[in-house]
């Protein structure tokens, strides 16, 4: 979706506020939200892509006004509400409604090391041979899907060169919609800064993006 999250190339956000000796978490609630997001039992069918899509559904003003772990809160609460695992009244009160079901299968601390090591492998067997090879010129498609995609607006319609092939990875656009992994070949595509931003860009500079095969066409 053409949302506020797709920030690459926007102007007007000001300078970058780097902090010396920054803590991992600035507020206790940031740490709690991080830990809760990792430790909780997610609704069945949850995927990382679904989670990102839910964050993208934040109203733009809230997206900009809320910080990173508040985005996590939004996506977490939304996923639980949509799955019927909590109600809005429960979310507001912080207490389970009388008689609501209670589970006993939440992740334990001793599960952490295995989860840390094993979660998040998105490489899959490919159903077909890759269409493109390193060195090949390609064009990022012009497309404006209303759902989740990982092709940013600033690269759409632009010409680049395949830099590296990664094999097949879970396809975020369908994974976010609950339509399955549908693995697609993934490539790093290198664009010149001038192709993306015009003649004012430094002539030698490049921007590289990881793009799925269906985002690309031969150039």
């Amino acid at each position: 979706m053409n949302g506020i999250h797709d920030m690459g190339g926007m102007h007007g956000f000001g300078s970058i506020a780097a902090e010396a000796h920054e803590p991992v978490f600035h507020e206790p609630w940031e740490a709690r939200m991080f830990g809760l997001g990792r430790a909780m039992t997610s609704p069945s069918g949850s995927t990382i892509d679904r989670g990102r899509y839910l964050r993208e559904l934040m109203p733009p003003i809230a997206y900009l006004g809320w910080t990173y772990y508040e985005h996590w809160y939004f996506a977490t609460a939304l996923s639980l509400l949509q799955a019927g695992m909590i109600t809005m009244d429960e979310l507001r009160s912080g207490h389970a409604a009388p008689g609501s079901p209670k589970r006993n299968d939440a992740a334990r601390p001793e599960d952490l090391d295995r989860q840390f090591k094993t979660l998040g492998n998105f490489a899959r067997e490919a159903a077909s041979a890759p269409r493109f090879a390193a060195g090949q010129p390609v064009k990022a498609r012009i497309m404006h899907p209303t759902g989740h995609t990982r092709l940013p607006r600033y690269a759409r319609g632009k010409l680049g060169v395949v830099h590296r092939w990664h094999g097949a990875h879970v396809f975020p656009d369908t994974s976010a919609r609950g339509e399955g992994e549908r693995p697609g070949h993934l490539y790093t595509v290198m664009f010149t800064a001038r192709e993306l931003w015009g003649e004012d860009a430094a002539p030698a500079d490049k921007v590289c993006l990881d793009l799925w095969e269906s985002y690309l066409e031969p150039a």
Binding site: I16, L112, P172
Partner: protein, 205 residues
Amino acid sequence: MERDHAHDHDDLVGQVPSDPALRIKALESLLVEKGLADPATIDAWIETFEARVGPHHGARVVARAWVDPGFRQRLLADGTRAIAEMDLLGIQGQHIVVVENTPAVHNLVVCTLCSCYPWPLLGLPPRWYKSAPYRSRAVIDPRGVLREFGVELGPEVEVRVWDSTSEVRYLVLPERPPGTEEMSEDQLAGLVTRDAMIGVARELR
């Protein structure tokens, strides 16, 4: 169009407490009451990223690449496999590409669409990495961003920006500082900074 109720309840922002501390405390209490989360597991994840996992992991990878040419070659050819040798892969970092700074090339890592970052190698991202100014500007104005971090690059240096749009995570391999030939791998790791491995710093000392 939407067959999956994606928009159900997406107006929740106005319906929950405006104070994030209250909002998140309520969510945690609720999920604990429902048996959907164990507070001890929440504590354990926090402790993992406050005390165990951080930029010192990435620094070990960089230092090894500096002292071991064979490892360096494997690392640049297939970062995932080389880092697996060191048992440093993990969540938000199962697929790694390492990009090498040289006198002619400087690399900078960003995630414009969210805040993807190689957790097992660098820990959780700093606030500025997740901020709108960095996410918006790193791709269109990398030299201006670098200048704000005190890095001034001449036109002879090519800037390569890596926008983390997939589950592949990027780590910058900085140049080894001159005059460090006598240092051990552990000592070298102590020179490597988080910012250099993101690419917002260039020269280490």
